[in-house]
Amino acid sequence: MLSYIIKRILVAIPLLLAMSLLTFIFMQMTPGNFFDALKLDPQISPETIARYEKLYHLDKPLLVQYLQWVRNLFKLEFGYSFFYHVPVSSLIAGRLANTFILALASLLFTWLVALPLGIWAAVRRNEWSDRILSLSSFIFLSIPSFFLAMILLYLASQGGLLPLGGIRSANFDELSLFGQWLDLLKHLLIPTVVISLASIAALQRIMRGNMLEVLRQQYILTARAKGLPEERVIYRHALRNAINPLITLFGYELSGLLGGAALTEIICSWPGLGSLMLTAVRAKDIYLVMSSMLMGGILLLIGNLIADILLAWSDPRIRYE
């Protein structure tokens, strides 16, 4: 198992480099560079723009620029942001943590709610509770997340209990440890619910489908015929088999969560990576974009790896050499 994991990690390195090269090429294919925006400022001369370009080696050939970035990568330097004139790593670090908190919270929330709901709906197939669940699934799937976020923030402004976006209250540093946790949870609630609702709707449907599929199998019939209690049939025999395909899905979700929350982050003033990335891509702040892509790529690979390991753990038929 350990050698398998090491092998996977080694394979990941060229994969990540290829990904960064592709990102670099795509960024370069769009016209102009970051400092082009300055060209429309009547008070900035072409000489000044040339100085900025020289500072960031934009006057060198593209290949040299890329190789320089890769070389620094091995020293764990991710380059400088053109926008902020500081190392990319110092920009990303704090925001990555924030995004991770939000991602983790919504992942937990999604799975803890969606799985039981899916089982419930499968067991009570075509009963009124199943119908209500499927109706609400379609509703939440079709509401855009930014709209849902706006509605929840509006409700919060009417209720006065929850904060209107942000991650910490102004007096955060003066709170006790427990108070700080509570404060964070309060701020987490709205963005977590917004991000989770659509995924809950989807995951719940998938879980229901898988469960129904398994419940039709003959070994379930056998189990029931043996006279096993219904709970045992469902939670012991059916569930373990129904959940397998979802574990692979879990791996993909992990990477999607980092980038997929940008709109929610912006509306809820959550200081995450998403909004930083969005402006970086639009402004062509290349190294910031490439470094964030790298993070996303690493998470995707880690997610896949975790999924594979979990799969081996839950399904005795799967073994890695």
Binding site: P31, N33, D41, P42, I44, L55, Y84, S157, I267
Partner: protein, 586 residues
């Protein structure tokens, strides 16, 4: 004592009612004295929102609003533009004098200024800011462009600890205004410059206590994406006109709120003290003024212009040896009648109604009316009149000759062209849609494309392959700072950039005005020159103006000494603003 008074009262008036009235007066009097004792202008905080994080705390390297709104609180210049009167006032320099040839300016610095860490502020800091930072060839800075004339920089010399001399290569009218350039501390930054690290110094990852200025506030906390917190600088030098130590407010808090709708909710909820309105917010907020205890200020037109312009580039593409645009198109665009007809086809009122909810201004002159002194209201105005536009086009030889609904020129070329704008600006895209509708009802065929900003910039500044563009530029109160747009050699002279010598007589005249205007130190003579420039632009229509948006903001009724203006915004001179006494907690 009250018993004695009441006894006395009963003897005097024998009236219960009057006794009650007196007690009421008495209590009122007592309350008054109590209030007078606790009345203080000091304390409290101001909370506002910013849509984006500051890009840096390094004022030399980064110059856009999210950065300058922070650095202008921490640092100060030798002079300061009064945002109400537009007169240059002393700041770190207490007075100055200019030699009779207008080239040597001597500034006498205040002696009571210290940096927030207690170090004295001296002439060395001024000389350092100019010679070692702004004029340093290793450091890219747009300030350098402001302080060089035709590539020649100013000479800055220390006379003594509190006197600095600036020697200019030629006379430069906006010099005093330019001296509002923020001065940075030599003792903090000397080493970074010596090690050639200044370009990456004082980025947003710097601990706040490192950022030392002379201004009224100092940065105490910055959490990226969340908030900036400023506290009063107890060493601040400035006193109010009554001799009170400034600033009055204890703290300023800038919350980073990217989404304007979220900011609106926060304002309505009372978390923010200020909100900049979009046209569409007005009908929502106006009825809530009383209930929400705020006031909406409409302080006049913005400075950012929006216009349509046509490519009049007569040049030849050196790569292909072809003209940048086909000759027949060039002949339309250089035809003044064509541009006049377009000017009459712009329905400014409709644009204001649809895009700005009726809150906007029709723009006629190159300077915004908010520029006051240099704004020329007597320029040629083009009212919306499609019939008149048609007549003008017909007289110029444009008419529908083959009955397909599209006009042709005298040589039979259909009047068809591309119109570009940048896709990032929803307002301009919508404006283009309205404009296109009117131009098509005139009988032109307009192909509209919204382009990515960088693509558009590339077309305007290097490939020159475009027909018509809708664009906007930021403006200000000083006409000379638009020289790069109006002088025929400028690279932002977009309809025909970087000309070796002016292609037309009117462009020549504008060149002369800008050369003369910057050397003229008499304000009134400058005014005559720049009025003529605005008149020529309105006659010749190299750019055809559309509308200016209105500057509107809502401020909670908590503050005294506010003087909101379009130029300075809601809280300029923030050190003089204080809270109404009922909002100060003791």
């Amino acid at each position: 004592m009250i018993a004695q008074i009441s006894g006395y009262l009963k003897q005097q008036f024998f009236s219960h009612l009057k006794f009650v009235f007196f007690l009421f007066l008495l209590s009122f009097f007592l309350l008054q004295t109590h209030q007078a004792n606790s009345t203080t202008k000091y304390g409290g905080q101001l909370v506002i929102a910013s849509t984006s994080d500051p890009k840096s705390f390094n004022d030399i390297m980064a110059k856009e609003t999210s950065t300058t709104m922070v650095t202008e609180l921490i640092f100060e210049g030798l002079t300061k533009m009064n945002a109400v009167t537009f007169k240059v006032e002393p700041q770190l320099a207490e007075r100055w004098q200019v030699s009779s040839d207008g080239l040597t300016w001597t500034f006498f610095l205040r002696r009571d200024v210290v940096w927030a860490d207690g170090q004295p502020f001296t002439a060395d800091d001024v000389v350092f800011t100019f010679n070692d930072l702004i004029f340093n060839p290793q450091i890219p800075s747009s300030a350098r462009d402001v302080f060089s004339i035709d590539g020649k920089t100013f000479r800055v010399e220390k006379v003594d600890d509190y006197t600095v001399q600036f020697i200019l290569p030629v006379k430069f009218a906006p010099f005093l205004q330019g001296m509002s350039q923020l001065i940075l501390p030599q003792h903090k930054l000397k080493q970074a410059v010596a090690e050639e690290k200044f370009t990456f110094t004082w980025g947003i990852d710097t601990p706040p206590q490192e950022i030392i200025g002379t201004g009224p506030f100092k940065l105490v906390e910055y959490r990226p994406g969340e908030r900036l917190v400023f506290e009063r600088n107890p060493r601040y030098w400035k006193k109010s006109s009554e001799g009170e130590q400034l600033p009055y407010l204890d703290r300023l808090i800038f919350l980073i709120v990217q989404n304007l709708d979220t900011a609106l909710l926060k304002f309505m909820d009372g978390e923010l003290d200020h909100y900049s309105l979009r046209g569409m917010d007005y009908p929502l907020l106006k009825p809530l003024e009383k209930k929400g205890n705020f006031t909406i200020y409409e302080v006049g037109p913005d400075f950012g212009s929006n216009f349509i312009l046509f490519n009049q580039n007569r040049g030849i593409n050196p790569k292909t040896n072809e003209p940048f645009i086909p000759f027949y198109k060039l002949s339309w665009f250089t035809n003044l009648d064509f541009r006049r007809a377009v000017a009459h086809a712009i329905d400014k009122k409709k644009i204001i109604d649809i895009l700005m909810n009726g809150l906007g201004y029709e723009q006629e002159a190159s300077m915004s009316p908010s520029a006051q002194f240099f704004y020329n209201p007597n320029v040629i105005k083009y009212e919306y009149d499609l019939a008149k536009a048609k007549v003008i086009l017909k007289q110029a030889g444009f008419m529908d000759r083959d009955g397909d609904g599209i006009m042709e020129d005298a040589n039979g070329h259909p009047l068809q062209f591309n119109l570009y704008t940048n896709s990032g600006s929803t307002q301009r895209v919508q404006m283009a849609a309205i404009l296109r509708h009117d131009l098509e009802s005139l009988g032109m065929k307009v192909n509209f494309h919204a382009l990515e900003f960088n693509t558009l910039v590339g077309k305007l500044t290097s490939t020159f392959d475009w027909d018509a563009v809708i664009l906007g530029l930021t403006g200000g109160i000083e006409p000379h700072f638009g020289k790069n747009v109006w002088h025929s050699s400028g690279q932002l002279h977009m309809w025909h950039p970087q000309q070796e010598k002016p292609a037309t007589a009117w462009e020549k005249r504008i060149d002369d005005i800008f050369t003369e205007g910057v050397q003229e130190l008499d304000e009134n003579k400058r005014k005559i020159l720049y009025d003529e420039f605005q008149l020529i632009v309105s006659q010749q229509l190299p750019v055809i103006y559309t509308v200016l948006s209105s500057t509107i903001f809502a401020i909670r009724n908590k503050f005294e000494n506010l003087k909101p203006t379009s130029y300075g915004g809601a809280f300029h001179d923030v050190e003089e603003i204080y809270l109404k006494s009922e909002f100060i907690k003791n």
